[in-house]
């Protein structure tokens, strides 16, 4: 379970990394094309504005580089990583925040991935529904479920 502002990487084939009910937050999954390694970050806000600290992984600018490091430390290779993005919705018709946090989160995560030259393989973002992401480490299968919907496959099983 990867909760708000948390991130995790794993090379244990049976592990399933999950973020339940992503609203304006982004679930960023990194999967390795060659090895059974994957990671997931639950990004809350786009930009730390220079703030740091042990719990700063809620910010896209800290979370994305840290997730890449952790996936590499777990045995992944930077050059064979693909990204999957889920979330970034506008939950409330009239947002109380002047700017749409969901859209800014997605843009910030994509910027960071671009800077790290990691390709976005699939995405289920925007709209007004909450979503749950599941990342199956062994098969690198990634699924998404929207509120009130059924489970959709975003990335199929990797056949070695």
């Amino acid at each position: 379970m990867v909760r708000m502002g948390e991130l995790a990487a794993s090379a244990v084939a049976d592990d399933v990394l999950v973020s339940i009910g992503l609203g304006s937050c982004i679930g960023l999954a990194l999967v390795d094309r060659r090895a059974a390694v994957a990671g997931l970050a639950h990004v809350v806000l786009p930009d730390s504005g220079g703030k740091s600290g042990p719990e700063s992984f809620k910010f896209a600018d800290h979370a994305v580089p840290e997730l890449i490091e952790r996936v590499v430390a777990a045995g992944g290779r930077r050059s064979t990583l693909d990204a999957v993005l889920v979330g970034g919705a506008s939950m409330f018709a009239v947002s109380t925040a002047a700017l749409e946090v969901g859209q800014r989160n997605e843009a910030a995560v994509r910027d960071q991935l671009g800077a790290a030259r990691i390709n976005v393989l699939a995405a289920a973002t925007g709209g007004d529904r909450g979503r749950t992401i599941r990342v199956h480490v062994g098969s690198r299968r990634v699924t998404v479920r929207e509120a009130g919907g059924s489970v959709q496959e975003l990335v199929p099983e990797v056949v070695a």
Binding site: R3, I20, G21, V44, L45, M91, V94, A97, G130
Partner: protein, 194 residues
């Protein structure tokens, strides 16, 4: 874990108690039924734990959210289960799961939020006003985290003042949460001289 003393937490609980007391009176006036309130809980916890403390993350819920303008950085969130939402709508003679049902729930949020903030304002000497409500029916976690995300820039600790209001003679209830950001909590306490 908590950066606040027991005395401070008691004071916050008392604020929530008086706020939800007036909110229950206005809900009661709107529904024409008596409304009971439970003793509010004050939860100070890491942001990551907040969703789990409120309920089942993937369960369906309807949330009505209001911003606060004035002297306090905070959000107000009302949470209804699908059955609560349906019962509240039927008390008001409107169809749930419809546009008019959603406006009825927003109006409940509006009236309860305004009276809660009004009471809070007069106790603390703060000028507080709610912004117009917005509504979403979705997974509980998605609603709660979106509200928390707006407050998350200020700190990693979430403070939830949670009151439960139950309509007498039914099992319809609504969970009323005041979610100040970390700076907002300091402001509230400073006004109380704590």
């Amino acid at each position: 874990m908590t950066p606040y003393t027991d005395l401070q937490l008691d004071a916050l609980r008392e604020l929530a108690n008086i706020g939800s007391g007036t909110a229950s009176t206005s809900l009661s006036g709107m529904l024409g039924r008596s409304v009971d309130i439970s003793v509010p809980s004050v939860n100070v916890l890491p942001m990551a734990d907040a969703v789990g403390a409120i309920g089942d993350a993937e369960a369906d819920a309807t949330g009505v959210v209001l911003g606060v303008i004035g002297d306090l950085a905070a959000s107000v969130l009302l949470l209804f289960t699908p059955s609560d939402a349906a019962q509240m709508c039927s008390f008001l003679g409107v169809e749930a799961d419809s546009e008019i049902g959603e406006s009825a729930l927003m109006e409940i949020g509006n009236i309860m939020g305004a009276s809660y903030l009004n009471a809070l304002g007069s106790m603390t000497g703060m000028a507080l006003e709610p912004t117009p409500p917005a509504v979403a029916t979705d997974m509980l976690a998605a609603i709660v985290e979106t509200v928390l995300a707006e407050r998350a820039g200020a700190g990693d600790i979430a403070l939830l003042l949670d009151s439960n209001l139950i309509v007498e003679g039914s099992d319809a209830s609504v969970s009323f949460l005041l979610v100040p950001d970390q700076g907002g909590v300091e402001q509230l306490l400073a006004r109380l001289g704590l």
